[in-house]
Subunit: 546 residues, 2 copies
């Protein structure tokens, strides 16, 4: 009977039991217990799932639909980024990028050149500047931007997204004057009684509202660019932390045209858009597990660099400031209750120790009413009071953290926090020790979507130059395997997707990358230099280095 | 080999070559040339398409996945409604319905009873009243509504949707006072210097903005109710004339859960929502040809009953009024240009002769720039100046008309228009004679979504009581077959779907209904009484009378 069955099968299109084989790989994955597992071949079903991991000794099936020979190259699971901004990455890539500028003068030259080569753009929009990196010791000014572009509005977001810089034309277009008032949760920087050109947190909206919105065509192009950047970085699934309606419509548009490759765990930008998108609750997985609205992203405070992070005690380098709490205790609780009622997962941005305390308090008030597998997420959790660290270990809370932030922020964090508050800063090991869960991401486009840089930072606490020697606050390192979990299975768990992707095992998606070295054996420096050669999602090659 | 093949097939789920047969039917359909064609069996493929129409003499295939015996009952193609409001139908069905009330007193009693049985509703919302039907000779008042419900806001839309009636509590909640000003395109009815309680066209928004929006759960329930009403009426595909973002999200939500049965040709409610939904242009057909954003719905004027229709000459029964044009010539042209650039089909509501003239002028200005198969639609086209009728025959314009409106409006139209303007009113035959195209619909929930009533009205110009004898303006009748085309193939054509549904032929969707009589042979009275027994979409039974 068996041979009869197979003979008939040859007449039928894409029968469900026809496997493909990716053979001759140096395969490495984590198993369900977080242990490293090796294999040499991967059997994949027609619907893009792993059927079996093969060892060298295992006989290969004879009947196969297709076969690929990897000639001994290294295969690892595709990475999962627990915190990124998909449209931000794409729009950023299509706009002016100042993240590589090392001085104000260099930035001015780059801005002027961009304006010259893009004469059709009514506004010059960009991001990535960082006055700390420029060693400016202050925010830049509108007048300095006017020197680069006097004739059109210019609007440039800071690297952390928590402040933006306008020229005079932009402030005029937005109607900002000396009489403009800083809104709650934001600050118009002033100089000599005039707006100086920099707008912090909620004050960014005063100018932002006048920036022309990207068209649907721009959004499509930006999404495709972001997807290419993610896949080429080895990321096959990502959380999208703050999907607004236009971004969601873009994902659907591409999904409807079978254009989604990367898998997106979407968190709606605030409660209104979340409910508008999801309606009665999270969506199912759509387009063959490519897109799902999982929950809601809320903001508890701003960022440390712009002193928007909400601290319990004043900033070390600004003794009159404690940062900005975006929500009252009542408001955050009400929003979390409303979202929890409909089964949305909740992810709250909290950077300062006061903001983290607030979220922890809100979760503790809710857990008795909203039971079950909720997976409360705190995004960043960068500065946590040591007395609050243990609270992270309760109620199944996930600390969604970004290892590269630690290396980028180190000097700035020391300045902002002083020496006595570093104990709970970027405290990955302490989170695990308290019984909490970690999920790792890059916060792209704030940082590059490079999981190898994040992985290396997580077990070294050193930057790409190997600084500081021995690692910063080295007691907060995690192991290489824990770090890998953070960027794979634990990041999937954080989005309720651990049964779908994050590791290679029977029944899981065949999402993997082919790389030029074994990341489990490479030195930290070698690990950072890993090149992605191919990226596969659902058993199909979706990107290849050329 | 053949028997081997079939033996193996039994082991496989839903092989693509397995047909089903609906046999022993009295089948009637139009063919592609609009001729009546008869058959006795229908072969259907596994993907829900018609494979073949069988005659009595044709041998039935022996190998079939399934077979249904209809015992000689009549099968006709599912109807296509060219103009309806899906969410309106569902929300209406779940709210207070006054369309069957014959006097103000009866309406007051029904409203009071509804308020008593729905104590949890903060607002009493409903629709369907018609002061003409009540023989009131004037609009009702807030005071008359207060008599029914004094304690809560009440907000009731007129049958044609172009006026609404508020009680005092509703006006108070909305902040409407004696000082409120009628907005452009709308009118607050006044009595003794106070708002009388009725708000016409754009003025409805003054109160509407305060009505609590239906929740996503309400929207789901309303959609499912609408779908059931459509399927039970024999409608298997419909245009949705004015899909806003929340309605679209509802359709997607149900589609994502495989809950769509009826096929929806969606026209976005205005340009902003259309572009926000479609992005770069119309969506593809989604969910197995169940949902597509085809184009945009624009409003050129109001309705005749509320004297919102925009006329060239004053109303016969209100010599100082000419109705309300919603857009300047420049605005309508700009909106149509913007939509045409992205390939959206354009459907403009135009009821009065001045509004129809405006749309025709705009189309004529655009056709040289926006070439190709555009299928410009005018919705309603109720009153067209005879000098403009010939313009309907040019440029492939589709007059999307509602036969039952003619019978419902007859007396009112005579009062509004006087005797000299009836020549171009509901002028179906003249549209065809001029070389224009017709598409027929019901405008549900303004009228019932009953295609048999519409079909009968179209070739008799008589109402359900057979009035007036010989038909009103009988020269504007179309034939029984032309009317059937209007509700099937021509309605599909109007939504760019004539290659998908509307008639039964190989390659078309197996969308059909089983009815209790042959509508091509029934008298008009019998035709109106047709009962739908089963409704099938895509080769699956989706509704059955119990």
């Amino acid at each position: 009977m068996r041979s009869v069955f197979l003979a008939a099968a040859a007449l039928l299109p894409a029968p469900a039991w026809a496997d493909g084989l990716i053979d001759n790989v140096t395969g490495v994955t984590l198993d369900k217990d977080g242990r490293v597992q090796r294999f040499t071949g991967l059997l994949v079903s027609a619907d893009g799932k792993v059927t079996r991991l093969l060892q060298g000794r295992d006989k290969r099936p004879e009947k196969l639909d297709w076969r690929a020979d990897m000639k001994g190259r290294v295969m690892v699971p595709g990475f999962v980024d627990a915190h990124g901004h998909v449209m931000g990455l794409g729009l950023n890539a299509l706009t002016l990028d100042l993240s590589d500028t090392r001085s104000l003068a260099e930035a001015q030259a780059k801005i002027a050149a961009y304006a010259r080569t893009n004469p059709e753009r009514a506004w010059i929009v960009g991001r990535g500047w960082n006055q700390e990196r420029w060693a400016l010791g202050r925010f830049p000014t509108a007048a300095e931007l006017d020197q680069a572009v006097p004739d059109r509005p210019v609007w440039l977001q800071r690297a952390d997204g928590h402040a933006s810089w306008a020229n005079t034309a932009a402030m005029r277009a937005a109607g900002v004057t000396a009489k403009s008032v800083s809104p709650p949760g934001g600050r118009i920087e002033m100089a000599g009684g005039q707006p100086s050109g920099v707008f912090v947190d909620a004050a960014e909206a005063l100018v932002e509202k006048s920036v022309p919105k990207p068209s649907a065509k721009d959004m499509n192009a930006a999404f495709l660019k972001a997807q290419e950047l993610l896949l080429s970085s080895g990321i096959t699934a990502t959380a999208d932390m703050g999907t607004d309606m236009d971004a969601w419509q873009t994902y659907r548009r591409l999904g409807d045209l079978n254009g989604l490759r990367v898998r997106i765990m979407s968190y709606g930008a605030g409660l209104d858009d979340t409910i508008r998108i999801g309606g009665t609750g999270p969506t199912p997985w759509l387009y063959g597990d490519k897109l799902k609205l999982v929950g809601v992203k809320l903001y508890g405070d701003g960022a440390l660099g712009s002193r928007g992070a909400w601290l319990k005690a004043p900033y070390h380098d600004a003794p009159n400031e404690r940062g900005l709490g975006f929500m009252s205790d009542t408001l955050i609780r009400n929003l979390m209750v409303r979202a929890s009622m409909d089964g949305y997962q909740i992810a709250v941005h909290a950077i300062g120790d006061r903001a983290n305390e607030q979220v922890l308090g809100a979760i503790e008030e809710l857990v008795d009413t909203y039971k079950g597998d909720r997976r409360w997420r705190i995004e960043h959790a960068q500065v946590v009071d040591p007395v609050d660290l243990r609270r992270l270990g309760r109620n199944g809370i996930i600390a969604s953290m970004q290892p590269v932030h630690q290396t980028s922020d180190r000097t700035m964090a020391e300045a902002r926090l002083g020496p006595n508050r570093l104990q709970g800063a970027y405290a990955w090991r302490s989170v695990l020790a308290a019984g909490g869960r970690l999920a790792f991401g890059s916060d792209y486009p704030v940082e590059k979507p490079d999981p190898f840089a994040g992985w290396a930072a997580a077990f070294t606490r050193q930057d790409e130059a190997g600084q500081p020697f021995g690692g910063w606050q080295a007691q907060e390192r995690v192991t290489r395997e824990e770090a890998w979990r953070g960027f794979t299975t634990d990041a999937a768990y954080a989005g309720f997707a651990e049964d779908k992707f994050g590791r290679l095992a029977p029944g899981m998606a065949a999402d993997f990358i082919i790389v030029d070295r074994d990341p489990t054996l490479a030195s930290p420096t070698e690990l950072r230099a890993t090149q992605v050669l191919q990226t596969w999602v659902g058993g199909q090659k979706v990107w290849e280095r050329r």
